[in-house]
């Protein structure tokens, strides 16, 4: 059966407009005036900023109030996230916990886990990392080998995780590990909450080509995990991990990572009087507005309680390509005349760009998911 590729039109509800104004006013107040960096959720965080955001009620927005949430809609959360990204806000610290770890605990966590972690996440005080990739397991996630061997009252974990963003300053990691010795592939995997300060756990920062340290290698040597840190059912890890992909891949962070380049380019174009630049800007705006509508359509699917894994893959695939297109075409349209903020923003974008089509599922993996939905595999 050929999939329906015509997604329903969805628009943000009226109350979102008021919220948008509040967010803009807040950002104007707390962020420095003038130069704004590209907002890349994978780098650039500020614990004080995250706490302020939590005080505003803009983390854990869709969660129940009893866990510190605010019971607002996915559309309202959408408005906050896109405003943060467009403004170049330092969202790196709380991003993963808000987007993924929190919803995961809400769906699969125990009552005690929810009560322990969610209020702190929503307050912008507890930060989480995701532990998936390993030295020998990247796109082939089912090949992971980190083993949490069942012992009295818990597990004993040995192994290592790689490319773990924020492990050097975050508080916890939700890791996918093998809890059944000898199990293979998708079976025998479980998710566990690890305290990043636990005994036997060491974090080694890895310098990226940007010169910064935002991802890490995390090594486990006989790390004891109390039984109560298991998330969901033992052996159900693969299913749990894949259920989060709709959240992980459909948001505005998948097409706004180089938005500031476009802003700067519009600024340059008002002085340059270049027809080529006008055409390019029009092209990029047409792409961006279409992507945003696709992304909002997926937010509507999430709001309706669906699990739009394929739709999210399509948003990420198209969105990542778009993010990579902006700097490449901008530099050509500028004809070597970029200077000051334009040049700084361009260089920053170029240095981060290779990661866009790798993190959160490579282009090739996403296209594989899409191809399966077309009936090709």
């Amino acid at each position: 059966m050929f999939p329906d590729l015509a997604w329903p039109s969805a628009s943000l509800p009226a109350e979102a407009g008021l919220l948008r104004k509040e967010v803009r006013a807040f950002l104007q107040q707390v962020l420095p005036a003038g130069y704004r960096p590209n907002s890349d959720f994978g780098s650039g965080g500020d614990a004080a900023f995250s706490r302020q955001l939590g005080q505003q009620g803009w983390i854990g927005m869709t969660w129940p109030k009893k866990y510190g949430g605010h019971e607002r809609s996915f559309f309202e959360r959408y408005v906050v996230t896109e405003e943060l990204l467009a403004a170049g806000a330092p969202v790196g610290h709380h991003w993963i916990a808000d987007r993924q770890s929190g919803p995961l605990l809400l769906k699969f966590g125990t009552e005690k886990q929810r009560a322990t972690y969610l209020p702190g996440i929503a307050a912008g005080e507890i930060f989480f990392s995701i532990g998936m990739s390993e030295p020998d397991s990247g796109s082939d996630l089912a090949s992971i080998r980190s083993l949490a061997r069942p012992v009295e009252a818990g597990y004993l974990l040995n192994g290592r995780k790689l490319w773990t963003s924020g492990a050097d300053h975050n508080h916890y990691m939700i890791a996918l590990v093998r809890t059944e010795p000898g199990s293979e592939r998708h079976a025998g995997l479980s998710q566990v909450i690890l305290d990043l300060k636990a005994e036997g756990l060491s974090v080694r920062p890895i310098r990226s080509m940007t010169g910064q340290y935002h991802f890490n290698e995390v090594v486990f040597e006989d790390v004891f995990i109390p039984q109560e840190q298991l998330v969901g059912k033992p052996g159900n890890g693969w299913h749990q991990v894949t259920s989060e992909l709709g959240y992980e891949r459909s948001g505005p962070e998948r097409f706004l990572s180089t938005f500031r380049v476009l802003v700067e380019l519009v600024g340059c174009a008002s002085e340059a009087h270049s027809d080529r630049m006008l055409i390019l800007i029009g092209r990029l705006v047409a792409h961006l507005m279409t992507l945003r509508r696709m992304s909002i359509s997926v937010a509507a699917m999430l709001e309706a309680g669906n699990n739009p894994v394929i739709e999210a893959a399509l948003v990420k695939e198209l969105g990542n390509n778009f993010e990579k297109t902006i700097p490449e075409l901008a530099r050509l349209a500028l004809e070597g005349r970029a200077s000051g903020q334009m040049q700084a923003t361009l260089e920053d974008a170029l240095l981060h760009m290779p990661s866009f089509t790798i993190r959160g599922g490579t282009r090739e993996i996403l296209r594989g998911i899409i191809a399966r939905s077309l009936g090709l595999r």
């Binding site: 802003v263 008002s270 630049m277 055409i279 092209r283 695939e317 077309l374 595999r377």
Partner: protein, 347 residues
Amino acid sequence: MTTADSLIADTLDRILTAHVDRTQLDAVADGRWPTELWNALAETGLAFATHHEDLPLEDAYASLTMVGRHAAPVPLAETLVAGELLRRAGMEMEPLPFGLAFIDESAMPQQADTFTGVLQDIAFGRHLQRLILVASDGRHWLLSEVDKATVEGCINIAGEPRDRLVFSQPVKALPLSGQSTARTFMLAALTRVLMMAGAIESVLRMSVQYALERVQFGRPIARFQAIQQQLAASAGEVVAALQAAQTARLAVNSSLLPTEIAIAKARVGEAAGIVSEIGHQVHGAIGFTYEHMLHYRVRRLWAWRDELGHEAQWQRLLGRFVVAKGADSLWQFITSPEPIDLEDLHP
């Protein structure tokens, strides 16, 4: 999809499946009029749906996506636009195919009630009796003696009639009140957006189907990652095109129509090129033959993306507007669009 949408789509799908085939497509390219196909469309009333008060415009135009999907060789687009114009002018609509002609100042009628001159690129012009003449200054006329013109038959890259009509003797020109040339032009562009969206999806479907059937190296080529990756990329373009086209169609009564048309014509036109390219690559040599049905869609996509403003023309209008607003207003425009200026867009 609304209920009205899907009802229209189902009805049309049935008619077009029954009436559009290779023989007919080639016959129309050779100058024949698709009598049975047109009559079937006329009988359902869908061809004149924009003239009826009881069907919302956004539903009336929806049928064009199906026209694109089937590559149906009929001037349904022009007839639907004419229907809306006649309705706004409070005039009756005869159950005939209509044409649409955009003219600049130099070609405008000199006399109040007659027209003499040359009209170019008239879709299905050789078959028409009725045509709406649209002047750049906003005036519109109904020409009811189009068959008095001398026809110089021309076809576009898809083999669709785009004729040159020479009116050496004056023909009656009846003014239409209450029109806006910018709106008429946007509606005409909308028809191409919707037709392209349908054809684009059709090219992907054909390509997926072919990949599943074609066996090489002992297995269907769909099993090869190189093929899967290309078709997945194509699917992304299809989703974007359908989303942009749908948004434009739903904005048909909105003040934002200029913005939505600019976005859609630019974005769908771009997708048309990419999806066609991948479609041909997946089909290999057979897709390049005249025998195969692929080219009937692809050639139309190439024609339609150029008609009524190609990508760069609409991109320029969009770009100029946001640049004039300034860098600090860009995000506001993205999240809360305004109608862009169509001032100097002219066919």
